[in-house]
């Protein structure tokens, strides 16, 4: 088993920089998720690691050894493709055994490994079938089985759940987590779905336009986003952003938006003072906005904003309120017992302990 390291890795396709000076270390046995919007370079990173693409600059290490000049078949990594890439003319057994037969592993051992992987994945009764006779979920398990039998130092998974329906996706997420714990191998998982990232990862690496934005635990990325991109990408529904100016009134620092102003509390106050009179971006998550009647005990608030309700979405366990004040449209997740109607004027409470301030020029979070 081995860790993986990207050292100043850049990949260019002509004039396009797909991966820009990536520095990322992935310890052995970690479940790391590469997440980002389409075209951010996350699949390219996976392909560079697998050897299917060559790096333009920099070095990739697997188990401490540089692998830039090592062909894909000799890197001892296994990949699960988004399309599963099962060989349609081979049975499930032959699909799983193919890689082992190429390496001249004895037939008895091949048989043992295939059957063991099939048992782990609960596909023992599918071994004689062809891929076209399998459902999407079964094909995905065969693709995983094909990777497991190789006993690689790292598993690379390129959006393996994207072809599954929502219910199966949720089920398979849990199964992949269990598989990771069972195998104890490094998993590097690519997805554009931040929910998958948050629920599966030991750590998440967020990419945008080929640049690593932040890497950390799901908790870190959610609570301490380094910049406005990560803040807006992690968390569903996404964080609300407001253009505000930092002002001071009667020894209190405020963030003044078009139609409201909210005080800056705690340590953020001293940081905000450095931007006095300047425009900054206020960020607050929908779940940190409340209706007064259902404000949970112990949640402080120090800002009440008058808004008009535009749209209401009943989710069962919560209510999503699309509201507007001035030119600011934003979203609040409130108690499902809230009784409001579209067009009604209400007050939304901001939990200012959980708000974020960003420098609009650089996008970086302003914090102590």
């Amino acid at each position: 088993m081995a860790g993986v390291c990207f050292e100043n890795v850049t990949k260019r396709f002509g004039n396009t920089i797909a991966v820009n000076n990536l520095n990322l270390e992935i310890p052995d046995k970690e479940f790391l998720v590469l997440v980002g919007p389409s075209g951010c370079g996350k699949s390219t990173v996976l392909r560079l690691l697998s050897g299917l693409e060559d790096v333009t600059e920099g070095t990739i290490y697997i188990g401490g050894q540089p692998v830039n000049n090592i062909p894909p078949r000799d890197r001892n990594i296994a990949m699960v493709f988004q399309s599963y890439a099962l060989y349609p003319h081979m049975s499930v057994y032959d699909n799983m055994a193919f890689g082992l037969s190429l390496r001249h592993i004895p037939k008895l051992e091949i048989d043992q490994r295939v059957k063991e992987a099939a048992r782990i994945l609960n596909i023992e009764d599918l071994l004689k079938r062809k891929p076209r006779q399998l459902s999407g979920g079964q094909r995905q398990r065969v693709a995983l089985g094909r990777a497991i039998v190789r006993q690689p130092v790292a598993f690379l998974l390129d959006e393996p759940l994207s072809n599954l329906d929502a219910k199966l996706r949720v089920q398979t997420r849990a199964e992949l987590n269990k598989l990771h714990q069972r195998l104890g191998t490094t998993f590097i998982y690519v997805t554009h779905d931040q929910t998958e990232a948050m629920t599966m990862a030991n750590r998440i690496a967020v990419l945008d336009k080929g640049i690593l934005q932040q890497v950390g635990t799901p908790h870190d990325l959610y609570d301490k986003p380094d910049n406005i991109f990560v803040a807006g990408f992690i968390g569903s529904p996404a964080m609300n952003f407001f253009e505000t100016v930092i002002v001071r009134k009667e020894d209190v620092t405020y963030l003044a938006a078009e139609t409201f102003q909210v005080p800056v509390t705690g340590s953020k106050s001293s940081q905000a003072a450095n931007y006095m009179g300047e425009t900054v971006t206020l960020g607050i998550r929908p779940e940190d906005l409340y209706i007064k009647e259902y404000l949970p005990y112990g949640i402080p608030y120090n800002a009440a904003v008058k808004v008009k309700v535009e749209v209401i979405e009943m989710m069962g366990n919560e209510l999503l309120l699309y509201v507007v004040t001035g030119r600011n449209h934003f979203l609040a997740r409130v108690d499902p017992r809230t009784e409001v109607k579209p067009g009604e004027d209400i007050e939304i409470l901001f939990n200012m302990n959980n708000m974020y301030i960003f420098d609009p020029a650089t996008g970086k979070a302003i914090r102590a």
Partner: protein, 274 residues
Amino acid sequence: MRKIPLHIIIVIIMLVWMTPAFGLLVSSFRPSTAVAESGWWTAFQTPFQFTLDNYHAVLTQNGMLRSFFNSLIIAVPSTVIPIMIAAFAAFAFAWMKFPGRDIIFMFIVALIVIPIQSTMIPVLRMLADVKLVGTFPGIWLAHTAYGLPFAIFLLRNFFIVLPKDLMESAYLDGASNTRVFFRIVLPLSVPAIASLAIFQFLWVWNDLLVALVYLQDPAKAPMTVTINNLVSSFGTQWQLLTAAAFISMILPLVIFFALQRYFVEGITAGAVKG
């Protein structure tokens, strides 16, 4: 219900097209006197006068049986060799990266438009220089060269639409290009290769000009050359000519009906995708 008129029209057209060939077939089973005296449509009136003598005469007295085997000796290698070479070339053009790949492929495709007739004299000279004129290897080479551009074009266009993930998965599994070709690409390409085999086999089997120019040895003449000679020697003996023609059609018909599924797939599989 709305398609019934269309089906009726199709059946009528089919009957019109088949009528001349059917007439020739009937004539091939009639004695010479009957053919001289009446039309083939009268053959179904009593007394019936069907005979196998025409086929017997053609096969035993005019070398048609030998020509049948000559046609096989020419057509089979002239089908297998270009397909093998084209498959290797097509895989390289579709999945391997090398300098000038696309330009070389365009050049090969451009060769399709060159008329065979314009190449015959130079090719004949080249074959003469290496003493292959009048030999089977010589004509195999000629048919291979003439068939390769289209074969490479067809197979490359088929190979290139195979999912890239399959190749990459095989590379990661440890396969070399050779293993990917034989274990992944070829098994998945059976429809395209079968349809190409039909195209090439039928083209070579029915060829007259290339055999006339490059073989020049009556002992090695294929059926097309032998039938061509029979036209002048038999003159108006339609019963013998039609028997000879249908003997030459037997094998292509068998191949076509056995593999017609691949023929239809092949038309849409490689030739029109790019």
